[in-house]
Symmetry: C2
DNA sequence: CTACGATTAGACCATTGGTCTAACCATCGG
DNA sequence: CCGATGGTTAGACCAATGGTCTAATCGTAG
């Protein structure tokens, strides 16, 4: 994450750096992004860049963090469902998924960044950016699953981690499928509902 | 893939290059692997390397291809299940999955390579290596799914691609979970069976 | 006014994947 | 046996990369 002193960097230049970085990471992904190009586009010297950030990874992690915050804000509150039966529980989750995927479809920058940062998921040593993204989601997921188990919507005969991983894998599959085959708004709910129903079947007690 | 003339390269040096490349890709992954280190370790000049391979990507794709062949050979024949009922169908698939995961656990080099080459799956422009790996598996998966549908073990009310993606996502989740939490041979079948059962529930008509 | 700490610019570094040229060497035609 | 041809090789070279370092600049406190 950016050094604390970055806060004292003139706001205008903060934006210049962060905007340039976001554009570069969005269009090239982390691996192919060029720090030199970012520096040039931001109109900032290399010394300055390294004075405020630890390096490319650090800058990337910061961009991801900000983008996650931005996305979370635009998504609004997604309270852990406190449903009383499985139907209601899964209906809520399906609605959530539809909303998120709709937002991602309408916010390609965020989508590209998040997908890029999740691409290396499962690597032996997750990047700071990936850690950010995971840590922002995991507690919510855990609580939601616990809630589902409490009302008997989700099985509890298997390790939580395994259930979570499987559900997560299905979610990623849905996302990947939607990217590969852009679909119009009318069809989206159907596909989302179908996959969420598969999730429900897989996780049912 | 390696240039055809690579066949005429002295076998000893072929091995030197391929071994060095495999070691490098296994220990660092594609992105962090250094072609210069490979060249040095193989005792071959840069000119020679580029005379036989198109570049880093090409060498990587070739290593992956060879590793896939090696793995396929060690796995033995995995015929598309021609079961008569769903129980038999899924029992066969479960047995396959157990076998493959057991092999991967016992062959860390192959496992590391395949995981690395699949890491960027879903990228806009899949690497040649990923294309290799996908192309080697997809026909089998499609046929297996078709067979499952024929005997009523798998639903056919959704696009094949979507079902395949979801199943694949669950498979990857299983694999990732097993990496993160190394498990002894006694427990493996239980976990595999559990996930395959979840797959079955999700894909049941 | 001085001195000090924060800030900045950009030269510089090793390393990267990739290109290119000059030499080498075996084979073949004469 | 000579010379030319074409496959092969070594490694200098290139632009670009992420990262380091030093010297200068700036603002402010004493």
């Amino acid at each position: 994450m950016a050094r604390p002193r970055f806060d004292r960097f003139p706001a205008e230049q903060q934006d210049a750096v962060l905007d340039a970085a976001r554009r570069e990471f969005v269009t090239h992904g982390f691996a192919a992004a060029s720090l030199n190009r970012i520096i040039q586009a931001a109109g900032v010297s290399k010394g300055t860049m390294y004075y405020y950030f630890d390096g490319k990874d650090d800058l990337y992690a910061d961009v991801i963090r900000r983008q996650l915050e931005h996305f979370a804000a635009s998504a609004g509150a997604l309270p852990v469902p406190h449903a009383s039966d499985a139907d209601e529980f899964w209906a809520t989750l399906t609605e959530y998924a539809e909303r998120m995927l709709g937002l991602l479809a309408r916010d390609p920058d965020t989508a590209a960044l998040l997908r890029d940062s999740f691409a290396g998921a499962g690597s032996p040593s997750p990047s700071e950016a990936e850690r950010q993204a995971t840590q922002a989601t995991m507690p919510w997921l855990r609580e939601t699953m616990a809630a589902g188990q409490r009302i008997g919507a989700i099985r509890d005969d298997l390790p939580d981690d395994l259930l979570l991983a499987v559900a997560f894998g299905m979610g990623r599959a849905l996302d990947a499928w939607l990217i590969a085959r852009p679909i119009d708004d009318a069809q989206l709910p159907g596909v989302v509902a179908a996959v969420l129903d598969m999730m429900r079947r897989a996780l049912r007690p």
